[in-house]
Amino acid sequence: MSTNSHNIAHHRDDFGSKMGMWLFLFTELILFGGLFIMYMVYRVEYSEQFHLAAKELNLALGTINTLILLTSSLTMVLSIVAIGRGSKKISIFYLISTILLALGFMVIKAFEWGAKFSHGLYPGGTELANLSNGEVIFFGMYFVMTGLHALHVLIGIVILSFMLVFLLRDKINKDNYIKLEAGGLYWHLVDLIWIYLFPLFYLLH
């Protein structure tokens, strides 16, 4: 080629895109890893108080949310399987289910947080001020970790909504669905983190 005309747009590398996505997910994993390190330190330091404080959490809601997230992971995978087989409508159905399940997760989360706030169990809250240091830290960790996770769920909803638009406009199709795969990877990561958050906060009794 002796001209400067060759164009980047022709260059498509799904493998490279996936690699980039994975590398990004690693940074997310380590971001939460930092929080888990903190959790370890404080759990060693305030073991008793952690058990005491965990009784305030609602196990039933936590379990339902876990099941919701796991199911949303499944629908996500099925959506990708469907597009891989060329069934656009099925894929759209599963993707919408994923988004709805994610919204459901957020609604339940909101109820849970709301209950804590109405009991004064939030940083600076009246009830929390009466508790021991360890319990304050427990709730601090709880709000920060589940809060950051919820933020990721929200980002996930936004990403998946974009995917839905791409899917409707055929920008994601049978031959090119790396975007959907990348979005799926992100969504599974959100699930993955919750798999650890759930026992560390709700199953402490």
Partner: protein
């Protein structure tokens, strides 16, 4: 450049049924871990909870996230990250456990 044909790895990736099976396993593991937490296991509460969580996450990573069916380099990268995280935990523990 080591160009790979588009979506070649999906030839051996699982279909609907297999994924649903994995989902059922995940759901039952969740139920097991909730049930086990009700028992009075003392010091083993954390251990059992973490073991179950690890089994669940392994399934999600391998099947849902396709690590099992993808190029081995992702497996390598992933193990590298998990190993690093593990080392970070151990080294921090050297401080807090011996204070």
């Amino acid at each position: 450049m080591e160009e790979k044909p588009v979506h070649q790895e999906h030839k051996n990736s699982p279909g609907y049924g297999y994924n649903i099976l994995i989902w059922l396993t995940l759901i039952s593991l969740t139920c097991v871990s909730v049930a086990v937490a009700g028992l009075d296991l003392g010091a083993y509460i954390l251990l059992t909870a973490l073991v179950i969580a690890t089994i669940k996450s392994t399934l999600v990573i391998n099947i849902f996230m396709h690590i099992k069916f993808d190029d081995p380099i992702f497996k390598l990268f992933f193990s590298l990250i998990i190993f690093t995280l593990f080392v970070l935990f151990v080294l921090t523990a050297f401080d807090i456990l011996y204070r």
